[in-house]
Structures are given as structure tokens and as C-alpha cells.
């Protein structure tokens, strides 16, 4: 809380190969700020409480869209990789015959499945990072600024 300025500058600076510009035409930028505006509008109004602001942002379509995108990716992906991992562990302990079947040369099903776990982990990591960068980051950032702008004058 003490360092409001630090994150701001750091966020603006590209810091890795993930930070390409999001693909054009996705339209998150315009959608993001709109639904959140009402509380800042009335100048006569006494400053709203921070809790109300968070409530409003929480109910705004822009936030719901960010949350929906996050959950639509994360929950199915998590179920998939956990099931795949569990199947792998259970098969290793209950079906050694199947796992010992040769595939190519000295490599058998078990070995291939183990390496497959590595591969799927890398792939899912890449897919998640890409999804977050293209589908979520910009909208989330806009919401962050809007929210912080509104809470600046708010009563805690």
C-alpha cells in the first residue's frame, strides 16, 4: 500500500518476450472502462466508500467479462491436467503390465507417458501465458486503473 508508484511504472515497461502487443481488433480496450463509471460521475455526491466502489466494479460487465475469461480457461484446464496426472499415477501403480508395453526401442508406455506429462505441462504453461496476455491483461489493467482512480478519494 505504501508504494503506489512502483508498480505503475513497472507495469508500463515491457519486460519479456510475452509482452508483445495484443492482437488488434479484440476490442477489450473499449469494453473495459465503460461499465464502471457511475460513482465518479456525480461531483456533488459525497465521496463513496471504498467497499461500495469495489462492489460496483465487481458488478460491472467489464469485470464479469475478465472473470469469465479467467475461469473459462482455468477450470477446464485444471480438471484436464489433474485427471491426466491422476490417471498416470494410478496406472503406474495398478497397471504395470500395460505400462511396460514397449513403444519404440527401450521406450515403453510408462516412459512415454512420463515424458508426455512434461510435454503437457510445458504446453499448458505456454497456452495459459498466451491466453492471459491476449485475453485478460489489457482489460484487467484498465479495470485496475479505473478502480484505483475511483478509490483515491474514497472513504475507507
Amino acid at each position: 500500500m505504501e508504494k503506489e508508484a512502483g508498480p505503475v511504472t513497472a507495469e508500463a515497461r515491457p519486460d519479456g518476450p510475452w509482452d508483445e502487443v495484443p492482437a488488434p481488433g479484440r476490442g477489450e480496450r473499449d469494453g473495459a472502462g465503460v461499465g464502471v463509471a457511475p460513482r465518479t460521475a456525480g461531483a456533488e455526491r459525497t465521496a463513496p466508500r471504498a467497499a461500495e466502489i469495489y462492489r460496483d466494479v465487481h458488478d460491472s460487465p467489464a469485470f464479469r467479462e475478465v472473470r469469465r475469461r479467467y475461469r473459462r480457461f482455468v477450470f477446464p484446464a485444471a480438471i484436464a491436467f489433474l485427471l491426466w496426472y491422476l490417471a498416470y499415477v494410478v496406472a503406474a501403480t495398478t497397471a504395470p503390465g500395460l505400462m511396460a508395453r514397449p513403444v519404440a526401442g527401450a521406450v515403453n508406455v510408462a516412459m512415454a507417458a512420463g515424458l508426455g506429462q512434461f510435454l503437457t505441462t510445458f504446453l499448458l504453461t505456454w497456452a495459459y501465458a498466451r491466453h492471459a496476455r491476449l485475453r485478460r491483461d489489457r482489460a484487467a489493467l484498465e479495470l485496475r486503473w479505473d478502480t484505483q482512480e475511483m478509490t483515491r478519494g474514497a472513504v475507507r
Binding site: 500500500m1 466494479v57 465487481h58 484446464a77 501465458a129 492471459a132 484487467a140
Partner: protein, 530 residues
């Protein structure tokens, strides 16, 4: 182990200690302690730096020596550890890293307590975090002790005990003088060393087989004495149903435990934003995945080049497979190359243990000062600065870990680590996930989730074959064993989730909708993040 090895290994190890002490004093100069600085290192590390530091925090000696050793002895069954340790990072990446960075300031309890009555939740999570950390610490200390005994010759108990004391004292110095900034740099140095060592050995192994992995596997299967069975599951965990269930229990604990480890979670606070936290996890998954792939090559390489029987003769649990492999790759016993490689590997293993120990000590001192002291301090008593308390706590935890490390010297390191993972998954993970994703979660639910996972996990371990009733138990002479599995995860993790649910639905207070809205907005957007 000849004198040459020892001298060179000691020299290299002293160099590492000197470098890290220099780092500690260098980054600690003229930075007198804000909590921000001590716990989070100023929050301005880059994703790449933090990714290396996370990898350094995670790849303990148990990974480097333990997994390769298990593969050298049991072939495929050892590889299952590598897979579990890596896949666990997906849980961290998808559910934890960004949201924790956005919602918390220094510890795990920050995230959960933000929605709840602060005091009981903080106390519960502080207690469970310290318990997990101390167990993990003891594992590292035990590992340090046996490593010294094995690598520097002289299996005398005195040498072991002094190593444990020395390692403990060093880490307390690192942590209390350097805080998070020094600890992070030590992790980075260690991660680079460890990766370089692993890459060098892997290249040498593959070069020996002219890059033909098939030939490597065939040779490993042949020299292991098990033939083709060596490459398939079942050598270690293929016995009765108890051992199979035990393995599944371990597998579940490994994959869910990482996301509840306090010293891993606190690493996300050292970067400026949630996006940087995500990128650091991507870096660390790349590093950790590459490293575990190499441990597989090294394990099979040790089986093929050194031979399973020789590995077992040197150390019954396989911990010396990698040093022996290094000796062989360098040209064998007595050659200069062998001596140098052996010493380098030994020094890297020490560096690994030291760095991991420093990371955990820092995280647990944060739990003591930021969570336990802050919530248990009697109002009206004199209030000490949080950082001062954390420094004292680091010393206290160091003493406790040294004491337990001396007591537990004969326990298996990999087992202790598995236990710490099971505790983290049972006590910390349910509360964390509920707090982040469940609208109706209440204070009672949070407290029940923590104790409902922690207490069964600890009790089940106490009545397990690890403590009593078997030839390899801590107390082989008495028998109060009631629970057949060594790892409690399969039972205690669901109990933790169940207790959290039960506490929430029986809770008389309504859930705080406004706080939930705030948590969700902050978690996903980063608004108001520290």
C-alpha cells in the same frame, strides 16, 4: 573418498559461502529494515530473476541427489517424483501466483485474512505455515548432515552434528542480516550453479552414449540387474495395496502441496505486479522442468555407468548416485577430472541445501512476525518493530530446526519432504483456494479448514509406520501404529477441504459479500495491490 576430493570440495564450498556472505553484506548495506524491504526485497525483482530464485527455492538437495538416486536404484519408479514435482507448478500457475500477488502483502495469511475476522485466521495460518516450514527445514538439515558424512568422508556423528549446526547458523546470518533481497540473490546464484552442473553432467552422460538415449536406457536396464523391469513401474511401489495407496497418496500430496508452501508463496511478493508473478512462474517451470528432465538422464546414467549395486553399496537410499556418476564421468577414481567433477558436484549440493534453508527460514520468520506476533501480541504490551521480531524469529526457528535436525538424523530426507508437502496441501491449500474462489466462505470455515487439515495430517503421521511399529520407524521398539500409510495426504487433504466446507455451512455469521467482492476485484485486476 580421498583427501583430494575433500580439500577441493571444501574450497569450492567455502568460496560459495564467501560469495553469499558478500552478497548478504552488499545488499544489506544501508538498508535498514522496512517490512517491505525485509520480507519482499523491495518488490522490484524482474520476472527472470524471480523465476531463477523460485527454481532455486524449489530444487532442493532432495531433488538433485534424491530423485536421481531413486532412479538409479529403482529405475522408472523414481521418475514418478520428477513428474509430480513439475506438474504441481500448474496448480501454482493457474490458481495461485497472480491472485496471491494481487491480494497479499507478505504472507499466505494476508490473502485469506483480508476477507475474515483477522485475528483467528492469521493465528491459524501462521501456525500451520510455521509447522510446514519447520518440517521442510528439518528435511534439509538432515540432508545436509548426511551429505557431509557421505561426501567429505568421516561418517562420524560429530561431523554430522557440527554440519547441521553450521548450516543452521549460516542461514540465520543470511536471513537476519540480508532479508529477502540477499536471500533472493543467493537463490539465483545457487540456481545458476545447479543448472550449470546438471547440464554439464547430462552432456557428459549423453556424450558417453554418443547421444543415443536408447543405448543409455538399454545399458541402464542391463546393469541394474532387473532387465526390462527397470524401465517400467513397480520395482519400488509394486508390492501390496498399502504400498500402492501410499504411492498415490504421495503423488496427490506432491501435486497439491507446492501451492501451499509458504516459502514459495512469499516469492511472488518480490515482483512488482501479478503479470510479473506469472512470468516468473513461466520462467521457473521452464527451469524446473528442464532440470527434472536432466535428473532422469542422470539417474539412468548412474545406473548404466556406475551400476545400481555400486550405488546401493555406497548409500542405501541412493543419495550418492550423482557424485559417483561425476567421479566416473571425469575419468574414474584417482584421475584429476574425476576429482574435480566430484568436488564440484559436492559443492553444488551444499550450496543447494544452504540456499533452500535460507529461503524457508525467511518465510517462516515472516509467518511468526507478521502473522503470529501481530495477532497474538497482548494489547498494551510494548510493541516491537515487526522486522526486529522477524530477525529474532529467524534465530529462534534456526535453533528449533537445528535441534530437530539433530534428533531426526536417521529419517529419510525424501520422506520428510513428502510429509511437508502433505501438510501444506492439507492445511494451507484448502483455506487459500476457498478464500480466492468461494463467495460464501466465512471466518469459521477458514479456521476449520486450517486446523481440519493440519491436525489430522499430524496425528496420522504420529500413528503411521514412520513413527512406530516397524523396523525403519523412528521408535522401532514401541508399537502404536494405527494408520497403514506413510504419507497422510490421501486422507488429510480431503479432510481439510471438508472441514472448511463444514465450518462455512454451519457458520452463524453471514459471509461478508462486500469483502468478497473486494477480494475478487483485487485478485483479478490488481487494484490496490501492495
Amino acid at each position: 573418498m580421498t583427501g583430494d576430493h575433500q580439500t577441493l570440495a571444501l574450497l569450492l564450498f567455502s568460496a560459495f559461502v564467501a560469495v553469499t556472505l558478500f552478497i548478504t553484506t552488499w545488499v544489506g548495506r544501508a538498508r535498514q529494515g522496512s517490512a517491505e524491504e525485509f520480507y519482499a526485497g523491495g518488490r522490484l525483482f524482474s520476472p527472470m530473476e524471480n523465476g531463477f530464485a523460485i527454481a532455486g527455492d524449489y530444487m532442493s538437495a532432495a531433488s538433485f541427489l534424491g530423485i536421481s538416486g531413486l532412479i538409479a536404484l529403482f529405475g522408472y519408479d523414481g521418475m514418478l517424483y520428477s513428474v509430480g514435482f513439475l506438474v504441481a507448478w500448474l496448480v501454482v500457475l493457474l490458481f495461485v501466483a497472480e491472485l496471491v500477488r494481487n491480494c497479499g502483502r507478505f504472507t499466505l495469511a494476508d490473502v485469506v485474512a483480508a476477507r475474515m475476522a483477522e485475528r483467528p485466521v492469521r493465528t491459524a495460518l501462521g501456525a500451520s505455515s510455521v509447522t510446514v516450514s519447520v518440517l521442510y527445514l528439518v528435511a534439509q538439515m538432515v540432508g545436509a548432515g548426511s551429505l557431509v558424512a557421505l561426501l567429505l568422508g568421516g561418517t562420524s556423528d560429530a561431523a554430522r552434528s557440527w554440519t547441521v549446526v553450521g548450516v543452521g547458523a549460516l542461514m540465520v546470518i543470511y536471513v537476519s542480516f540480508g532479508g529477502m533481497r540477499a536471500t533472493t540473490w543467493i537463490q539465483i546464484v545457487k540456481a545458476v550453479l545447479l543448472m550449470a552442473g546438471a547440464v554439464a553432467l547430462t552432456v557428459l552422460v549423453l556424450a558417453r552414449f554418443h547421444g543415443d538415449v536408447n543405448a543409455l536406457l538399454d545399458a541402464a536396464a542391463q546393469r541394474s540387474g532387473h532387465g526390462k523391469d527397470f524401465l517400467a513401474p513397480g520395482l519400488r511401489y509394486g508390492g501390496d495395496w498399502t504400498s500402492r495407496l501410499d504411492f498415490i497418496s504421495l503423488g496427490v500430496a506432491l501435486v497439491l502441496g507446492t501451492a501451499g508452501l509458504p516459502h514459495i508463496l512469499s516469492r511472488f511478493y518480490t515482483v512488482p505486479t501479478a503479470r510479473a508473478a506469472r512470468h516468473s512462474v513461466v520462467w521457473s517451470i521452464g527451469l524446473i522442468g528442464g532440470f527434472y528432465l536432466m535428473t532422469i538422464v542422470l539417474g539412468f546414467g548412474a545406473a548404466a555407468l556406475v551400476g545400481s549395486a555400486e550405488v546401493r553399496a555406497s548409500n542405501a537410499s541412493g543419495n550418492t548416485a550423482i557424485p559417483l556418476l561425476a567421479l566416473d564421468l571425469g575419468g574414474g577414481e584417482g584421475s584429476t577430472g574425476g576429482t574435480v567433477l566430484f568436488a564440484v558436484v559436492a559443492a553444488i549440493a551444499f550450496a543447494t541445501i544452504l540456499a533452500v534453508v535460507a529461503g524457508i527460514t525467511l518465510a517462516s520468520s515472516a509467518s511468526v512476525a507478521h502473522d503470529l506476533y501481530a495477532s497474538l501480541r497482548r494489547p498494551g504490551r510494548r510493541k516491537y518493530g515487526e522486522v526486529a521480531v522477524a530477525r529474532v524469529a529467524a534465530v529462534g526457528i534456526g535453533v528449533v530446526a537445528i535441534g530437530l535436525g539433530l534428533l531426526a538424523q536417521n529419517l529419510n530426507v525424501a520422506f520428510l519432504v513428502g510429509l511437508a508437502f502433505a501438510l501444506a496441501a492439507s492445511a494451507n491449500l484448502p483455506a487459500l483456494l476457498y478464500a480466492l474462489f468461494w463467495r460464501r466462505f466465512t471466518t469459521r470455515g477458514a479456521v476449520w479448514a486450517v486446523y481440519g487439515g493440519l491436525v489430522p495430517a499430524v496425528v496420522l503421521v504420529l500413528v503411521s509406520p514412520v513413527v512406530s511399529g516397524g523396523p525403519t520407524s523412528l521408535f522401532p521398539d514401541v508399537d502404536f501404529q494405527l494408520f497403514p500409510l506413510e504419507n497422510p495426504g490421501l486422507v488429510s487433504i480431503p479432510l481439510g477441504f471438508l472441514a472448511g466446507w463444514l465450518g462455512t455451512v454451519t457458520s452463524p455469521e453471514p459471509p461478508d459479500e462486500a469483502k468478497h467482492a473486494e477480494t475478487e476485484v483485487r485478485a483479478l485486476t490488481g487494484a490496490g495491490a501492495a
